[in-house]
Every structure is written in structure tokens, then in C-alpha cells.
Symmetry: C2
Subunit: 266 residues, 2 copies
């Protein structure tokens, strides 16, 4: 086990849950790493939208790999691989092994499909098992989109069936995005014998409450990317309309140039 993967694994067993901001380009990653976050995720929506591609459609393998390689040296990094960018478990394992060799500490693999369906659990098991054979040290966070996609699969029973299958195949953690209310989260924590990752939903969650419920990892998904897009338009509109811009002291031109220089030197 490399120092980075071991350190990342330990963050799932710490006193406080691992809080993961999610980056989508070098600058967002460097700004967050420079702020002291020990680990970062990536957001597939952010990576895809920045490139003008749809999310969860398996179209941004190249962009995802380029970002992962660029930011792996900034801090501990876990990479959102959507469904693995291939239906072939060996191709997914090859991709994951390449990322591990580049210093990436973990990956996410999701069972949601672009058409709104869920992959068969056996397919996800094959992906997870292939990745763990090729890169046993990589923290594989298996995401099940039962609640994210909604509909008939959005039940505790189906979620636990899938979580169990993915853990049996070797997954290190389970991610259930769109799990919103305390009772559901408590039930999942209780029933899943591995670190549970919850997607932070500003309307529902507080970090201390999620910690009290026993959640081991809280990630931001596309939230920070959407906050950045919001700020972009809000600032433009404020200038155009002669209104005061949103509050806050923006980083200077020099500070942004410095992010690149420090990252490159690190």
C-alpha cells in the first residue's frame, strides 16, 4: 500500500467524517488544496460540463484522466469515474490501475446509467472485482444510484442488496447519493458494514449531524461547481446592472497565478 492510499483509507476511520470538496479543473483543485483540505474528490458533472459534454454518459474518460493526473500531486485525490467509461471490467481495471500508478488514492464507480436505469448488480460486482485485482490498494467507493435515480429502486431493500453485493466484490466503501433524511441515513449506517458516503445536500444536511448519525464520508458532488457557475453569472449581472456584486474578497490575479506555480513546484 502506498502512503497516499493508506492515508486516504485512514481518513474514513477518523474521529470526524472525511469531508470531500469536489474539483473539476486544476484551479478549483489547487484552490481547495491550498485551503488545507487533506483530500479532494472530482465531480463528473463539473468535468463534463466544463468540456461541453453531458454527465454520466461515459464521454469524458480523457478529460477525467487528464484532471486526475494533473491534481494527484496536490493532495489526496479520489476520482469520479462514472460507470468506469467502459462496459468491459478489464478496461475499467486498466484505467483504475493507471490512476493508482499516477498517485490517485481512490475512485468512485456508479451503477446509474445514462438512460436512467441501474446496471445489473452482477455487472458492478465484476467491475469492482476487476479493479481490486489490478489495484488492490485503491479505495473503491461503490456508488448505488437507487435514490439518485428514484423510481421503483429507491428502497432500503434494494440499496442494501446492492451495497452488500458490491462489498462482497471487494468495494471499500458505499456511496448513496440523494439519501436525504436522518432516519434513512441512520438505517443505512446501521446496516452497511463499511464506511458510508453521503452527498451533502444544503437543504437537508449539516456536517455535524451527519457525523452524529455515523456517516464516515461526506462529499459535495457537483455543489461547488454549481456554486462557481452561480457566482460567475451573478457577478456579470451585477456589473451589467450597476448593482453591488456578491460579497467576498476575491483572490487576486497574482494569487491565481500563484496556485499554478505552487502546484507545479509541489
Amino acid at each position: 500500500m502506498t502512503p497516499s492510499t493508506e492515508a486516504f483509507r485512514r481518513l474514513h476511520q477518523a474521529e470526524q467524517p472525511l469531508f470531500l470538496p469536489n474539483a473539476w479543473d486544476y484551479a478549483s483543485a489547487a484552490a481547495l488544496a491550498g485551503r488545507g483540505y487533506a483530500a479532494l474528490g472530482t465531480t463528473s458533472l463539473g468535468v463534463a460540463a466544463a468540456a461541453g459534454r453531458p454527465d454520466a454518459a461515459g464521454e469524458t474518460r480523457a478529460e477525467t484522466v487528464a484532471l486526475a493526473r494533473a491534481i494527484a500531486g496536490l493532495c489526496l485525490v479520489t476520482v469520479d469515474l462514472e460507470g468506469g467509461f467502459s462496459e468491459d471490467p478489464e478496461e475499467v481495471a486498466e484505467l483504475a490501475a493507471g490512476l493508482a500508478a499516477a498517485g490517485v488514492a481512490g475512485i468512485n464507480l456508479e451503477d446509474g446509467r445514462a438512460d436512467g436505469s441501474l446496471a445489473p448488480p452482477e455487472h458492478q460486482q465484476a467491475l469492482v472485482a476487476a479493479v481490486k485485482r489490478r489495484a488492490p490498494e485503491l479505495f473503491v467507493n461503490a456508488r448505488t444510484d437507487t435514490y439518485w435515480l428514484g423510481g421503483e429502486h429507491a428502497t432500503v431493500t434494494e440499496t442494501l442488496r446492492r451495497a452488500g453485493a458490491y462489498l462482497e466484490a471487494g468495494a471499500d466503501g458505499i456511496f448513496v447519493p440523494a439519501a436525504a433524511d436522518d432516519a434513512l441515513i441512520a438505517e443505512l449506517v446501521h446496516a452497511i458494514p463499511a464506511p458510508l458516503n453521503i452527498l451533502f445536500l444544503p437543504a437537508h444536511h449539516r456536517l455535524d449531524r451527519l457525523a452524529a448519525l455515523g456517516v464516515r464520508r461526506v462529499s459535495c458532488g457537483s455543489l461547488l461547481f454549481r456554486a462557481a457557475l452561480y457566482a460567475t453569472v451573478a457577478w456579470a449581472d451585477a456589473i451589467r446592472d450597476g448593482e453591488p456584486p456578491p460579497p467576498g474578497k476575491l483572490p487576486s490575479y497574482g494569487a491565481v497565478q500563484g496556485l499554478v506555480r505552487e502546484g507545479a513546484a509541489g
Copy 2:
């Protein structure tokens, strides 16, 4: 003259100054275009930092071209080419002609160099002239960094000498970033016989005041990119610290996916 270049040129002669927000990736461009801005610039700092490269160092030709091609269909677009990404005027002209063929309406060419010096005016004249020979319809906004870089060159005399030289070579407009105070801006407007572009500085400027001074074009440079970076970190910190996040209704996941679909369909 293509419809887009003609429409872009006309925006420099409208009742109100052309206000240009600056994008750095597909998503920021699509969000701004979707908000109704008729024209967008790009920010070389944003493009470079997103890719983990320094600004103004001539290192992001490929990223700049890819972005320009991706967003040229969203609305009228003018592209920040730093110093042209080459010392050879014919190479710069080739680049500019390719962008014009892809639907880009204008470009910026700056005389500031990565080492903090200014290129000889004759060099910039050669670039502008070569571009205008190859792509006469392209709006060439010649940027002089006399005030941006500061020091001994930050004088009205040197700025006007360079503006005159660039216009003589065929430039369509002049951009003087870091021109802050009203008296200086009024003097430049008065003395430069072409549309003057001012970089919006939140601490100094209001759009209506710049309009009253006779400024024909106001751009945001890296401001929106830095606002996005600020929001990214501010949201992450707020969640981590259990504080209320910055105000504002963020775009939903579906809205961001929609930006990509609409842009691709347009």
C-alpha cells in the same frame, strides 16, 4: 464580412458600451450565453489556470483553440490569444484565420510578455498586420499592457504611441487594462480614434460611468473566474464549518446538464 463579425463590430458602436463577460470553459460560456449576453470574451488566466498552466506564458494555445471552437456557436465570441502563442506573425495569422473560420468574431493580442517587459511596437504591428491580411473581417482588439505591467511604461505618452502604432497596422480597437481613474480614461478616449476597451475594476468602476466617459467596450478579464474560485472555496469552508453558505439559488444538476444539451443542439 460574416454576419457574426459584422454584428460584433456593430456592438462597439451601440448606444451603450459593449459589456463582455469572460468565460474559461464551456460551462461558464454556456451559462453566460444562456443568461442573454450577446457576446463573450475568454480569459487567458482562467483558461490557463483551469489547465494548470501559467497565464501570459504562451503555453495554452491548444486549450484556447479548443475552447474557442466549442463556444463559437453559443453567441458572439472574442478570444484572448495572449501574445499570439508564437513570435512568428504568419503563425499568429494562421491561428487567427482558423478561429475566424470556426465562427469567432474577434481576438485580443497583447504586448505584455511573461517576463514583465513589453514587446517592441513593431512586433505587435507585424502581428496585427499579418492577422488582418489573413482574416480582414476579424475584430482585432490590440491590448497594450503599459499600465497593466506598470513601471516606466505606464504613461499616457507611451500608451498613445502604442495605440497609434497598432491602429496604423490595422487594429480595430484598443484595450488598456489597469486604466483605473476617470481622468486617464477620458484622456485615452479623447486621444484614441478607435473603440476603447477598459477592464472592469470593481473597486474603481461602474458601467454607467465608463459609458459616460466614452468607453466603447468593457470586459471582465479574469474577474468572473476569480469570483467562481472564491465561491468554490467559500461554499466548501461553510459546509465544513457548519456556517450558512453564501446566498443565492444555485443552478440545479439538471439545469447544468441542460446547458450542455441546449448548447450542443444550438
